[in-house]
């Protein structure tokens, strides 16, 4: 019997260490300190080459902006909340905001959120691999 395949990370900057919790990784420019997602050679802010350090991004942040998506491609369940989150200590990421009613009355700009890691809504690739994704949920104290 084949060994059960491990789920894969949904994006390259989501890290799944063998011993330890998942986290998001930023690439920090050694020259200007800008944080990017995913590996790169040159900083698009200052132009410095080959001077990036991998940094562990925070799992805490604040909701910057959002939209509640009611119409999407066929097969994608709606509504969902598309959210842009500024992580504490640097780095901005986009993802689904879960654990809250998709209702503008309930969602506040600047509200504290935390990053959580779960199966990627059951989506699998052509080879049948499953994936781990990241989501945001309200951080209630």
């Amino acid at each position: 019997m084949a060994e059960e395949a491990q789920p894969l990370p949904v994006v390259s900057y989501l890290k799944l260490p063998e011993n330890g919790d998942p986290y998001l990784e930023g690439q920090k420019c050694g020259s200007c300190g800008s944080i990017f997602l995913g590996e790169r050679e040159v900083c698009s802010k200052c132009g410095t080459r080959g001077s990036f350090d991998a940094v562990k991004l925070s799992n805490q942040g604040k909701l910057y902006v959002y939209s509640i998506v009611h119409r999407s491609f066929p097969g994608i369940e709606v509504p969902y909340v598309s959210a842009i989150v500024d992580l504490d200590g640097g780095g901005t990421v986009k993802g689904n905001l879960i654990g809250i009613d998709p209702d503008p009355e309930k969602i506040q700009f600047g509200m504290p959120v935390e990053v959580v890691y779960q199966d990627a809504l059951g989506r699998k690739d052509r080879e049948g691999n499953s994936y781990i994704s990241y989501f945001f949920q309200p951080a209630n104290g």
Binding site: K45, Y64, V65, S67, R71, E77, S82, N96, F109
Partner: protein, 381 residues
């Protein structure tokens, strides 16, 4: 400084849905209309810039000439997202400004499917739409609008008022896709696509084309075309500079501000000198942002501006009196030249029921994500 450059012929077709026609065929129709507007023939044109996005690799400009006259002139096919048509116009303008040619044409044409744009993503692994938020255009521009809401408290109702206004304007424009009033309750109550953008707050995907004939001052005088000529006072193009949230949030503001600064400098004027504006209302949320980006009001005052009717026909600075992308329609590659057609028509005093009285100077603005912002300032001769 080299001599001024003028629009001497310009026109557009009524936007609509023409699935049975080809893109070059749509382009050909407005090219002929623009030639007629100037009383010229294709044999008079020295070079052509052709804007189209959907078939960017398919030599649309040459195929258009195969329909209306293969004269052997240089043809450049241009693609620059939603700034495609304006970029073709600008490159044609530059060639005359540089003294390489003195009579050229810019054309923009597009054929659109119905439905949502953006969110493609593709790549390896699994689809990311609805998993890592949304890359669909209505949501992207909803988030851009919400940045304004977060800073200044701009409301869903204020965004919706943009759509009420532009749909109202389009009832006066026979070349708009729609001529239909949409009261506030109708806009806010129409299908929610991506909060706060409802269906009536999203631009209409249509087919269309527009074309302009551009001439040097010497040539325009020689041809006796100065009476209806429109002076191109400024042509500016900017890309998006680095921004903190770039990786996840396209910035439509900064490149607009860079382009407009250059445009005002070239024209030697400021926002108070502008009598009308055609700006990129791809979504109702976007129009609010651009009032401030273009300096039509101070930062944080755009909500008040729409509330007070300052941007409606008859207001201080009428915006999108054509009906805008929201109701006239948004055939990507044609949009930039159609905007220039609208402003030129007002400067010529030929805009009929929607005429902005006494218009002397007007501005056009388009922005394509990725990003490219093109701005032109035009002046009555």
């Amino acid at each position: 400084m080299s001599e001024d450059v003028y629009v001497v012929g310009i026109d557009m077709i009524k936007f609509g849905r023409f699935p049975e026609r080809s893109v070059p065929n749509l382009a050909a129709e407005s090219a002929l209309l623009a030639l007629d507007d100037a009383g010229l023939k294709i044999q008079d044109i020295q070079a052509l810039w052709s804007g189209n996005l959907g078939q960017a690799g398919a030599m649309v400009g040459q195929r258009m000439l195969q329909e209306i006259g293969q004269t052997g002139i240089p043809v450049v096919n241009v693609a620059n997202a939603c700034a495609t048509g304006a970029t073709a116009f600008r490159d044609a303008w530059m060639s005359v400004k540089a003294g390489v040619y003195d009579l050229v044409m810019a054309v923009g044409a597009e054929q659109m499917g119905k439905g949502l744009l953006g969110g493609g993503g593709g790549g390896k692994g699994i689809p990311k739409e609805g998993l890592l938020g949304s890359g669909l255009m209505p949501a992207v521009f909803a988030e851009a609008g919400h940045e304004h809401s977060a800073k200044y408290g701009t409301t869903f109702e204020q965004f919706a008022k943009v759509s009420v206004k532009n749909h109202h304007h389009s009832t006066l424009n026979p070349k708009a896709m729609y001529q239909k009033e949409t009261p506030l309750e109708m806009v806010m109550g129409s299908e929610m696509i991506a909060y706060p953008n409802t269906k009536l707050m999203c631009s209409v995907n249509v087919d269309g084309s527009a074309a302009a004939v551009i001439a040097s001052e010497k040539k325009a005088k020689e041809l006796g075309l100065m009476d209806r000529a429109v002076r191109i006072k400024a042509s500016a193009l900017a890309s998006d500079p680095w921004q903190e949230r770039d990786l996840v949030m396209p910035d439509v503001n900064t490149c607009t501000r860079i382009a407009v600064k250059s445009a005002y400098e070239q024209a030697g004027c400021g926002p108070d000198d502008i009598d009308l504006v055609e700006l990129h209302d791809c979504f109702a949320t976007a129009e609010i942002l651009h009032y401030e980006n273009l300096g039509l009001c101070g930062d944080g005052e755009a909500g008040k501006m729409i509330d007070e009717g300052a941007t409606a026909l008859g207001g201080k600075t009428p915006v999108n009196v054509s009906g805008g992308l929201l109701s006239k329609g948004h055939p990507l590659g044609a949009t930039g030249i159609a905007n220039i057609y609208e402003v030129s028509t007002h400067l010529r005093g030929e805009a009929g029921k929607r005429q902005v009285e006494g218009a002397r100077m007007g501005m056009t603005h388009v922005i394509g994500l990725g990003s490219a912002c093109a701005i032109h300032i035009l002046e009555k001769v």
